[in-house]
């Protein structure tokens, strides 16, 4: 991507340190990052093998090159496809071309974000330019195509089985569904097997926000990633004849003439058969050409895709579109490659435009040409669409784990599809801007790739811990990170916070977990022993752990107590991964909860040493407020700051 890595690598003083995560971790050299997605566009410069040495000898994978498929090179070392699940579910076999070639764009975008080369001169229709960068730019990459429009469980498992066998180090999965029982969920099952082979599995939290408890991919062996903004805006202003001017976001061509155009709302432009509500959303067939012709149409966000609204406005003869956020979308404005001149406004600004249109006899307006601005604030803030906690399956485990840039991300794209994905749109782009937790997920995969290069023997849990405990919860104004509504966000939105790759390379302490710990976790959830022996015949649940205490004491880098009654004590164990040092505990108590840590100091004499501590959470005399309250625990030796979010709710 052209901005997000700089944004993440910037330190508080606004400077990228010379010893950044990239240099420290040799740009992710020879780590193998794979995605399960829509395949790959192998001709992209992001996957050129110029300057790469031989493929790592441990790699067992390869490329399916038949049917116009994919030929491997020294950068793109694997590409497979799995389509039998799609076909068995009734999918059109002719759509499921027997090839891992990406004809949708999504898989190329996510794989290049995680592990693509540096590509100077990356541009989207000339509207934005820069050097595209993957998170682990010297990693080797592999694509397992399991999505054919949708992504079916049977194909996902086939992709997992092959990727584990082939020897990938990091699996990036920008796919989601409703969270459910871990053993009826292909991503949870596949990732459970993957982590037993030491593979870090990174997944999207989902795009169902801001609804509470909407987070997906919540198994505790997965790294679950929310999405937030960065400090770049594609500003296109909506100007009204009454002098009002509103900052919006867009990537679109300018209006034909430098003059004011008549404005009309979608509802005012409705056809005789359409409802005003449907026309306000600019749904297909709801806009009357005789009313919209030659005007700028104001549409409300929701109901259909943002770009699709522009398509409908264009079909109705409009010259432009102002896309007004609904209340849930708040301040989250996204730069889309609209098919006509357009801009997207915040909820408040959109409401002002609609009020002007509705209260004025002859409303007129204008949309300015988009311009790129860097260093905007506040940034990051949470994307409205990013799925939220609490964890609907195991509320004792905080999810999502982390947030990363997922709005207006520029990365490589498929040469087989247009930016609007409309068949009549003949435009083709080598790079594309896209938004979603699909885009934030591979950022964390890229950071995991760097950690894997730097610390090849670390477990997936240790790598996740390093990413989580070094995250930040303040934005670039040094104030608490916000939601898209610009209210203060909480750990159910951002997990441990916004990723800081430089700090993640030197976490000081980590919360580690083994495959055995995950089996004990499943014991605590009540899975029967016979079932768990299908993973490990020697597995025996320890009776003491088959209670909620087993869940609360699970060595996760966050602490969540969903039903606090009186007091509860939880145990954690940290492993020193730096030099000898003494760490002191510092707590920010959740409102209404008294938190004590014992011991308050942990002295480590060597790397690899482990120490345990206890945290007692006690409801204060006045009792807990309704809902969840949040705090944090930081272990620090003055150099490292090992931060854990705390979430507590009353019974």
């Amino acid at each position: 991507t052209t901005r997000s890595w700089d944004f993440m690598l910037l330190e508080n003083n606004g400077v990228i340190p010379s010893d950044s995560a990239w240099k420290k971790a040799r740009f992710g050299e020879d780590t193998i990052i794979a995605n399960l997605d829509t395949g790959v566009w192998p001709e992209s410069k992001s996957f050129s093998d110029e300057g790469y040495g031989p493929v790592p000898s441990r790699w067992k994978g390869g490329c399916d090159s038949q049917n116009g498929g994919v030929r491997c090179n020294r950068k793109l070392i694997g590409a497979r496809y799995f389509n039998r699940g799609f076909i068995a579910a009734g999918g059109n076999a002719t759509e499921a071309i027997s090839s891992p070639r990406d004809v949708a764009g999504h898989g190329t975008h996510t794989l290049s974000t995680a592990g693509g080369n540096f590509v100077p001169g990356a541009s989207v229709l000339g509207l934005v330019n820069g050097t595209a960068k993957g998170g682990s730019p010297k990693a080797r990459v592999a694509a397992y195509k399991i999505c054919w429009g949708n992504c079916f469980d049977a194909d996902l498992l086939a992709g997992f089985d092959m990727a584990i066998h082939d020897g990938v180090d990091v699996l990036s999965i920008s796919v989601g569904g409703e969270a459910g029982d871990y053993f009826s969920d292909a991503i949870a099952i596949g990732s459970f097997h993957a982590i037993q082979s030491g593979i870090v599995v990174v997944c999207s939290a989902g795009n169902s926000g801001p609804e509470v408890a909407s987070v997906a991919n919540v198994a505790p062996w997965i790294v679950t990633v929310g999405a937030s903004t960065m400090d770049r805006e594609f500003q296109a202003f909506a100007e009204l004849r009454n002098g009002q001017r509103f900052k919006g976001s867009s990537l679109s061509k300018p209006l034909a003439d430098d003059k004011l155009y008549p404005l009309i709302s979608g509802a005012q432009a409705k056809t005789a058969d359409a409802s005003a509500a449907d026309a306000m959303l600019c749904l297909a067939g709801t806009l009357d050409k005789t009313k919209a012709q030659g005007k700028i149409v104001a549409c409300l966000r929701g109901g259909n895709a943002r770009v699709e609204k522009g398509v409908q406005a264009l079909l109705a003869g409009a010259v432009g579109m102002i896309l007004c956020n609904d209340k849930d979308s708040g301040n989250e404005i996204i730069a889309d490659l609209h098919v006509l001149p357009a801009t997207q406004l915040t909820y408040t600004d959109g409401a002002a435009v609609l009020a002007y249109i509705n209260s004025t006899a002859e409303p007129y307006g204008y949309i300015t040409h988009p311009a790129v601005f860097l260093g905007t604030n506040p940034a990051p803030y949470m994307a409205a669409f990013s799925s939220r906690g609490p964890n609907p399956v195991t509320p004792e485990i905080l999810k999502p784990d982390i947030t990363a840039p997922g709005v207006n991300i520029l990365a490589a794209y498929s040469g087989a599809v247009s930016p609007t994905e409309e068949p009549w749109d003949k435009r083709r782009v080598s790079f594309m801007l896209d938004s979603g937790t699909s885009m934030s997920c591979p950022h964390i995969s890229g950071v995991a790739g760097l950690l894997k290069t730097l610390y090849p023997t670390w477990s997936p849990a240790a790598i996740r811990s390093a990413i989580m405990t070094t995250a930040r919860v303040r934005d670039n104004t040094e104030k608490p990170m916000l939601d898209a509504s610009f209210a203060t966000a909480d750990p159910f939105a951002y997990g441990a916070g916004h990723v800081r790759p430089n700090r993640a390379m030197d976490p000081g302490l980590v919360y580690d977990l083994t495959a055995r710990d995950y089996l004990e976790f499943l014991c605590s959830l009540g899975y029967n022993q016979t079932m768990l022996q299908s993973f490990d015949p020697s597995n025996k649940c320890q009776a003491s752990n088959t209670t909620s205490s087993g869940l609360l004491n699970f060595n996760y880098p966050s602490i969540t107590v969903p039903k606090l009654s009186g007091s509860v004590t939880v145990t954690r164990t940290v492993k020193n991964v730096a030099e000898a040092s003494t760490y002191e505990a510092r707590v920010t108590q959740p409102n209404g909860v008294e938190v004590t840590v014992e011991p308050k100091s942990l002295q480590f004499t060597k790397a690899g040493e482990e120490k345990s501590y206890k945290v007692t959470l006690k409801a204060q005399a006045g009792g807990l407020p309704a809902g969840y309250v949040f705090g944090e625990l930081i272990w620090s030796d003055g150099n490292h700051f090992v931060r854990s979010p705390i979430a507590v709710a009353a019974t």
Binding site: G85, L157, D161, H165, V175, S534, F535
Partner: protein
Amino acid sequence: NSAFAAKQSYVVYMGAHTHGPDVTQQDLELVENSHHNFLASFVGSQDKAKEAIFYSYQMNINGFAAILDDEQAAEIAKHPGVVSVFPNRARKLQ
């Protein structure tokens, strides 16, 4: 009635394999045969089992994906060697 029962694709998940990570061709064949034998006991014959199974997960994940009717899926789920049986659902790109 069962002859006309609606069939759909399911995943039958059976945990981990007993073979190690360095899997041989012989291991893979043994696993595939074991999946066919297992399903044959529910669908009536080896041929029907081979026809129904469209994936046999052989390397790390133990299980298979097959076209089954609801009754067959429910019966298979009761087998002690089976961890879970679930429909081959669609998930979305995010």
